[in-house]
Amino acid sequence: MSKSATDVIKGLRKGKIDRTAFLTTVYSEIREEVKSPDLATKTNAIRKLFILALEGYDMEWASFHILEVMSSQKFSQKHSGLLAASQCFKPNSDILFLATNFFRRELVANNTIDTCIAINTLACIVNADMSKELLNDCVTLLNASKPILRKKVCVLFYKLFLQYPDGLVICFERLAEKLRDESPGVVMGTVNTIYELSRLNPAFVLFTAQALYEILNTTTNNFVLIKLIKLFVELAKVEPRLLKKLSGPFIRILTSNPAKSVEFEVIRAICAVFPESEDMLRIILQKLPGFLDSHDPNCKFYIVKYLGLVVLHKLIQINRDYAEEYRIFIMEALQSKDVTIRLRALELIKITTTNKSLIETIKNLLIEVEKPINAGIKEELISTCLYLLSLNQYELVEDFKWMFEVLLQIVNFKTSIHEAQLSSIMLDVVLRVEELREEACELSLNALEIFDTLKSEKCEALTALLFIIGEFSNYFSEGNLIKALSLVTKPRWELLNFHESVYNALSSCVFKIFIRAKEDGVFKACVKKLEENSVQIEHMESQERSLLYLNILTTSDKEKLNFVLKPFLPIHPSAQSLIFPPDALQQNFIVNDDELFTTKSDGTLEYHYYREEDFGDIQMTDQEKKAAKLKIKEKQMQDPYYIKPKKGKKKKGKKSKKLEGKVEEIKETAEVVKEEEIKKPEAPKKYSVNRAEPLIPS
């Protein structure tokens, strides 16, 4: 006796059986049953297969059987087949060619219910070819007598247009007529489709604006209203004259509609299209506390708070004056227990911080980073810090010494994605701000004392610190210089196996310290360190550099090396234009004597060389081509460095017999392998849960 689908489910739910064994038996049963000529058995098999598909088994091999079941006349069988089809027919599978005819029959059939469920499935699986074939039948359905059919077809059109855009031009006007349909469901379906199309190409749907405007003023369905508001925002982007007509309805909706969802949508729309309108902003500001502090029992506190924060974000983008009033509120939101709200608060902080509030904001953010509940958003918090610090070329920062300390603090948090940005900010700021250099050197020196903890994947922060110490070591006092030297000459550097760039920076640092220093002891220490570097470090490039510096130090005159003491300064971007190019780099600078073509007196071009790859699209007669090819050959023969190709026949590749044998082996075992790969792992342990508990408590 074959199991029914319910039996399979009951079987799976029994605790004591071996799930995989049970599923495997069911799977092999299905494979047998599905081939049976009797439609009822087939349907049963397909239903069971669907359950297995939810467990992870593959269903595509049964596509043809599913198609047969779909074509049945009985509703329950057809429904099961269509359901299976919606899950397993992929857009590029071959079965869709066969399915097209089936769907065409269904679309023109007299049976409303069959057509409905066919459309349901079609929306999930339609591809470009099917769309092209079925478009005309769908257009006919637009005039069906039953509103449910018209409604479903209107929504289906979006999917059809996505797959077959050319159809859009032909059918869209017929679809747009449905905006004036008497059934509200049809209107809703059409509005949905038009909205999705307007996101792709608003100019195309613009001519429907008149009809849409009427619906905007008459509809009572909030879902339609929301879609229309969004639609008009899209349309207003291409047709600014719409704005005048929209202000009236928007204000009316904002003041009269009680639903928070509609309110939110209108506010969002107003912020997008009417950023200057004073009265609208006034109304929004009145509504804002309703969102931020709502105690409405229907809407949960956090939901409306979230929406309020979104609205606040948009308002502040329009006008920064609002930022002041809400600053404390935003800071509180940052402490909220809900992570989504915290993320929103971060976004708001990015746009509301001023130079007066920067220090406190950063302090708060860094405190937040250390809290364990923020572990998930640590990266966002640090990104916000760096964003604020480097905004508009450090516009907000007044005290650079404090900023450098903050950067060093962030280095300690060791987030690898920020390291590159962090080190570039550090270097940038030290290079540009002269007053900072002395303090930066001292701070870097202190930070470097724990250099072993600063190790990371690319050690960019460490490299930056070494560069600062080396480059600006002339700000050090003698004592500090010795301290710096002792730090960089510690043997621990080699032991810790840093990234290559660290050792390169280390060698340069030692080199520069030597040049600044005046004592003999320093000289000896530098030489010793460089010698060690050149031998002990694994990276070849670093060894080379150490050797290079060593040679320069020991062989050249110290006075001549004073050019290294010149400060490394930023250059203005327009500086390049003030330098004239040398004579050699003039316009007629010829790289290659052999000219590919010359311009004749009458303006046409005469080609000397011709190779397919170079001039594929140039019109040349065959004779010219031959002549050009000969020229190339001659030149190649004369060129002593040109390697001539070997003469001889090319052997055609023989297929290896061993390989063929292997391919056969693999083919035989393919199905078994596929089955095993697809099975999911064991189900998790059972919990005692009441699955008979009603979803909506009475």
Partner: protein, 140 residues
Amino acid sequence: MIRFLVIHNKQGKIRLSRWYTTIPYEEKCQLERDVHRLEINRDPKYTNFLEFKNFKVVYRRYAGLFFSVGVDYDGNVLSVLEIIHLFVEVMDQYFGSVCELDLVFNFHKVYGILDEILIGGEITETSKPLILQSLRAGEK
């Protein structure tokens, strides 16, 4: 546009999964797992929205089931919550005090109900009586 609707229980078992975009099977599974993991850890007082890179997930919990809907970034989240509630209410009226077992044993009918409300990720019908009417018509 609604990208997907997934119903899962507290243990992570998927009771219904309907996708309105074409993404590879492994990505679907990964996403379903991620959404489940994030949702069970959230306090019920918190907002019902999860933000991902270019889409949002709106979810609501009914008894032991989570109804999660993925929607585009600029979609109206409150209306999606309404859709979820509409779906549950229709199922309630159709099955008579629906519970998780009804979804387990009558999964094909649940898909049928969903198809009456959403086609291709778009809302088609919001009136409960009309939905139930067309469902009953299909039964005969």
